[in-house]
Symmetry: C2
Subunit: 267 residues, 2 copies
């Protein structure tokens, strides 16, 4: 499982405060701790006014690179900011994200075409988030056309099928699981990613829904997730699921993760 | 999800102590608390020497029936004990269990044929636990032949595919998930059950494996489980999974379970 550590995000109040107060140690600690907890990428999202977004991104990226070699996921709603920010990174990371909305892909794909950068791509377009699985797969096909055009190998893409909140659903996540399976069937080397928390919007006891969602999505082929790697219960379930779905022969990774303290005993 | 509350079992040291000391209140509390936590059956397993098993079963069954109307799962390796014990129950429950081993089915099925008793059936026979999925399905077919012979409707059966420990597996639980899917495909009204803990034998941090296993097995069609209903994290994941797999429209049961305190907030 590819873990994209989500904790450096200005939408989180404690991070917003650290950004406002230029608390460098707070940011460095978040980078270090997520890296030690097994994150494969450290997401960096400023979530500040666009007028100061680029300088904030630079400040955050520099702090992350002070303390870890874990690659960065440059995260902004603006493709222009992503394209600028990735130049500040010492090594290839992940662009988070493009979609078929506006000119995002045509801005980002040429920039990363001849690099080792990976890229998250959301299955939405200028009409918003598709209601049906079929429409999501049409957006996916359009993204893959663009990837082909710019010579981006499927193995560099993390497709986010955009899970919607469960509380308004009559049939659970079956549509999304089918979309994930179809994507992996068409491109076995592609990654499927997603956040763990949209699914539980408006529900109580959200972490149960988030955790069960990740387990189920992994069984359908999700192999990348934007989560908090410091959440030991989620990490334990992820390692356990890898073993259960046959991705961890003899549970070697599970046992190794336990020994490293990535999850540990649970009540 | 049908919850078979597992806590009244003489194999658990505190219960063995209560049996030895005739601590009736301890047993009554276990029955009451599991019932309040949402158990659909209260499993009663003496796990004592055969010479005193029947009298112990009677003592336990009477105590459970003192405090709750939740049906009992009479649980013994001996079909004779099960057949005797079920007569002590005030209302139909679950026989736990039969298999194609020895004469178990031919002892139990005639006794429950014209009743509303349900029955757990393990997919093993006199040669032990089958290694392959194919062989498990052959044992299943033999059980269903017997069910037909004794006129036991599939909806009264809880088939336990017998999950083996993950740590010796090279491909996870894919075989078992396929067996579960096939069973439900052949008999949509049948129940598929199982314990949550065999899977994690010999592993550290077992609860992660148990929890992820239940989520995955539910997505394949498991709709009954022998678990501890007082374990709030497991119960939260079960309720969440029901909603995620489309068995709980608009999450009404999930929200109701939360309000009843069956799981509650989680860190």
């Amino acid at each position: 499982m590819i873990i994209i550590g989500e904790k450096i995000n200005g939408a989180i109040p404690s991070v917003a405060k650290a950004i406002a107060e230029k608390d460098a140690d707070f940011i460095r600690d978040l980078a270090r701790s997520q890296s030690e907890a097994g994150a494969n990428f450290i997401d960096v999202c400023a979530s500040v006014d666009v007028s100061v977004e680029m300088e904030t991104m630079k400040w955050l990226i520099d702090l992350v690179q002070d303390v870890t070699e874990t690659p960065i996921a440059v995260d902004s709603p603006s493709a222009e900011i992503c394209a600028e920010a990735l130049k500040l990174c010492n090594r290839p990371g992940l662009v988070n994200s493009v979609s078929m909305e506006g000119k995002k892909i045509d801005l980002i794909f040429p920039v990363i075409a001849d690099t080792k950068w990976e890229c998250a791509a959301l299955l939405c377009d200028d009409t918003g988030i598709p209601k049906s699985g079929k429409k999501r797969l049409e957006v996916f096909a359009a993204i893959m056309e663009k990837a082909k055009e710019y010579n981006i190998d499927p193995s560099r893409l993390h497709i986010d099928p955009l899970v919607e909140m469960l509380c308004t659903s009559e049939e659970g996540i079956n549509i999304i699981l089918d979309v994930i399976r179809e994507i992996k069937k068409q491109y076995p080397t592609i990654h499927v990613t997603g956040g763990a928390s949209n699914i539980s919007f408006n529900l109580p006891a959200r972490k149960f829904v988030n955790q069960a969602f990740i387990v189920l999505a992994m069984s359908a082929g999700m192999d990348s997730a934007i989560i908090n790697p410091l959440h030991k219960h989620m990490m334990g379930l992820i390692y356990a699921t890898e073993a259960l779905i046959g991705m961890d022969e003899y549970c070697m990774e599970f046992i190794g993760g336990y020994r490293k303290g990535l999850f540990g005993p649970v009540k």
